[in-house]
Amino acid sequence: MAKEKPPALDIKSYPTHHVITQPNPLRKVLQRIDEKELDDPVARAEQALAGLSGEFKNWMVVEADRLSAAHAVVIKEGFTETNSEELFRAAHDIKGDAATFGYPSAAAAAESLCRIIEHAPDLDKVPADLITHHIQAVQAIVHDHTKLDSVKIASELSRRLRKVADEYLVHVNRDRPEHLDAIMAPSIVPGD
């Protein structure tokens, strides 16, 4: 598909801008079909994803260990730019992946940690326990995930961590309105 010559552009020019339209180069991949021929690619993909789910626990352990390792480096060397970035990246990956892997509470705890790293004016002044509790929460959620009674506890743990983290962030950003707006803004991701 991509090897074909790109179609000619139609360019309309105006005083402040150009509007550029090209015939849809991907039109050829749209196929007209009878209703009876219609399969369900989304259902097929969900099934394939379910087939992968046996690996999710291991993947989650790897992600949680990466987070703990990044935190250990911070404890040893402090919040250098590189260390902060790696801690954020590890937490951010968990925030994005964990719900897909079946660990939504770990995603929530990781998101809370991301917010601290992103919005705290001085990471060296963040109470060490606040960060440690987030790391420990992620580890606990991942390792105790199979226990039936732990799901509710995990959810409550993440909720409380987020509450404490938000209170801290609101307090330390009281004179930084742009951060305060971002902290208070609702997430665009629909809730569970």
């Binding site: 991509a2 993909a45 990956d93 925030k95």
Partner: protein, 181 residues
Amino acid sequence: MYRIDFNKLRFLLCDDNPHMRRILRTLLHSFGAREAYEAEDGATALEMYTHYVPDIVITDWSMPIFDGLELTQMIRQPESKGNPYAPIIMLTGHSEKRRVTVARDAGVTEFLAKPISAKGLYQRILNVVANPRPFIKTKTYFGPDRRRNTNGAYIGPERRVGAPAEVLQQPSLLDKARSPI
């Protein structure tokens, strides 16, 4: 009815997380795609973009070397030798409104907030295949038309003049990002 013939599409996937790349690859293959090239950082992705000329780019935001936003800005260079018009779907854990706006202003075509779902990804791909938007070039922007509603009261610095507002009836990038599908 229409369906997408995925095996005619070439994808470039860019995410530093190997687990997420595996998820994406699995989803695309089960949709029917056969060509999906993978990069784990923005610099490699840009090289692969030039080399493989993908039809659709799916990129994470946070990545080493340069991130998905910078990758988008480098692809959206109107004078570049490569194809600056390829649809770019940003798949990211960033889930704040201002991030959607920044991504839009960099030239991202679609925004998909993690956690990823098969339905959400399919819907974004269907949209870029079936409903491509014209590109707009101004002094400060080159990318898909960002205007999705008319606002006659708008008097900001990027107010376009000289053409009637042609509005594509599509939900805003933010609304789409908010939607799980």
